[in-house]
């Protein structure tokens, strides 16, 4: 910026302010344009992601509808909302899937959990986590079969007090070198199962148009950590 003879107006405070203001306006316009041009595409991509993770936990023969369509939105007493995706077959709710979260060693872990209409677990997959690679990441299906162990289980099979890692007197193996992670996962799952248990009738007898009152029993909030 070596202009030998700088015009006087450049030194004025008004010019500086105009400059900053102008650039801010320009940046805003560009960002709005960028947002508008990518918004639809990003929503489609996110729906595809959701579809893919739902298809992983709900077996194909459990639904004939589009899983992403018409989800049930429930707002919990603490203001968080849960979106429950439903697999529908023969006009009956045959599978329910929603996102649960647990506290891991390095922060929140997010999972997608699917239950059939008797409350049995159809599948669980991790969506995101920040656990230590090589130690706490064995809940990823690509790394280990551990998470598949839960398939077919429900509240009562095993009994509620058995829903814990072996170290805590339960029946589930912890990973070598990581106890906090599986403990968090088991807790998240059992909370979700309790939530289903408390709201079983409302959740599984729905037709698409019903919007029943869902009660969030204390301690059964799937987002509780």
């Amino acid at each position: 910026m070596k202009t030998p003879r700088e015009p006087k107006y450049r030194k004025r405070i008004g010019y500086q302010a105009m400059l900053l203001g102008g650039f801010s306006t320009l940046a805003t316009i560009l960002l709005v344009m960028g947002n508008v041009s990518t918004k639809d595409n990003i929503i489609i991509r996110q729906q595809e992601d959701l579809q893919r993770s739902l298809a992983q936990v709900i077996p194909d023969d459990h639904y004939t509808n589009n899983l992403v369509e018409n989800p049930l939105k429930i707002s919990a007493h603490d203001g968080k909302s849960i979106t429950i995706y439903r697999g529908i077959k023969n006009k009956q709710v045959s599978a329910l899937a929603w996102e649960i979260s647990g506290q891991g060693y390095a922060g929140e872990m997010r999972f997608i959990l699917a239950l059939d209409n008797t409350g049995k677990i159809l599948g669980i997959r991790v969506l995101s986590h920040a656990e230590t690679p090589g130690l706490g990441d064995k809940m990823e299906v690509a790394k280990d079969d551990w998470i598949l162990e839960f398939n077919g289980l429900s509240l009562g099979n095993p009994a509620e007090e058995q829903w814990a890692v072996k170290k805590d007197g339960g029946q589930f193996d912890a990973f070598t070198g990581a106890t906090i992670t599986p403990r968090g996962i088991v807790k998240a799952i059992v909370d979700a199962l309790k939530f289903y248990h408390h709201n079983k009738n409302q959740l599984s007898t729905l037709t698409l148009k019903d919007k029943p009152e869902i009660k969030m029993a204390t301690g059964a909030n799937p987002h509780e950590q």
Binding site: M1, K2, T3, R10, K11, Y15, Q16, L19, L20, F23, S24, A27, L30, L31, G34, N35, T38, N41, I42, R45, E48, D49, T132, P133, G134, L135
Partner: protein
């Protein structure tokens, strides 16, 4: 003129390399260099932002006054990065899922602000863009080298997930170097990044020293030749 460009290229890739010489951009470097593919993706995104910010800042260098240049540069860079973030989310979604967390970090990459401030704001458009390209390539090179070292030592693979980044044709790049490898956790975690970076920096110094020695040696022998010419 071509000499200038050669100088810029040499600066960007080696002499004044963002990481090697300026020790900037270490945050994204350590964060994403766990695998070679991630490093490459981050490098390309950063290079793009550096070229674009070089272009814009060099174009506007007469308009922007020194007093407000820093906020204006940051605004330009932040806007560019946000646009890259949105575009990647829309059209390179799988890659965005891997790198998404780190893209906004490009804003905090002081190397970009550093180059706009120290080069683009004082030069014409073409050299500024070229400087952005070369600095970005230098950064990408380090990212990929570190990614390769950490990936091979840490997880025994090479370019895992390259097909996500470059398309299906790149799947031949994905190799399993050591089969049945248990993994070497230290290298994958941040300390591994620091270790590998330390070795790379030491390596650069060794090469520089060797080059320097050869140069002085050559000059010596030239001087001797001259001396013998005079004597004869």
């Amino acid at each position: 003129m071509s000499n200038d460009y050669r100088r810029i290229a040499k600066d960007g890739i080696w002499d004044n390399n963002i990481v090697f010489a300026q020790s900037l951009a270490l945050c994204p470097l350590l964060a994403v260099s766990g695998t070679a593919s991630n490093g490459l993706g981050m490098g390309i995104a950063t290079t793009f932002v550096m070229i674009a910010s070089g272009l814009i800042v060099a174009m506007l260098r007469e308009v922007i006054t020194p007093q407000v240049r820093i906020p204006v540069f940051i605004l330009i860079i932040a806007t560019l990065v946000t646009l890259v973030d949105l575009w990647m989310n829309a059209w390179l979604h799988d890659l965005h899922k891997v790198l998404g967390l780190f893209i906004p970090l490009i804003v905090t990459n002081c190397a970009i602000l550093g180059r706009t401030e120290s080069f683009a704001s004082k030069n014409q458009v073409l050299p500024a863009m070229f400087d952005g390209l070369m600095m970005g390539m230098g950064f990408t090179m380090i990212l990929v080298i570190m990614g390769i070292v950490r990936e091979v030592l840490g997880s025994g693979t090479l370019f895992a997930g390259a097909a996500l980044l470059l398309g299906q044709w790149a799947s031949f790049l994905e190799l399993e170097i050591i089969s049945d490898y248990k993994g070497f956790l230290l290298i994958i975690l941040p300390p591994g990044g620091f270790l590998v970076l330390g070795f790379l920096l030491a390596g650069k110094r060794l090469i520089d020293d060797a080059l320097e020695k050869r140069k002085t040696h050559k000059e010596d022998s030239v001087a001797i030749d001259d001396a013998s010419l005079v004597n004869s």
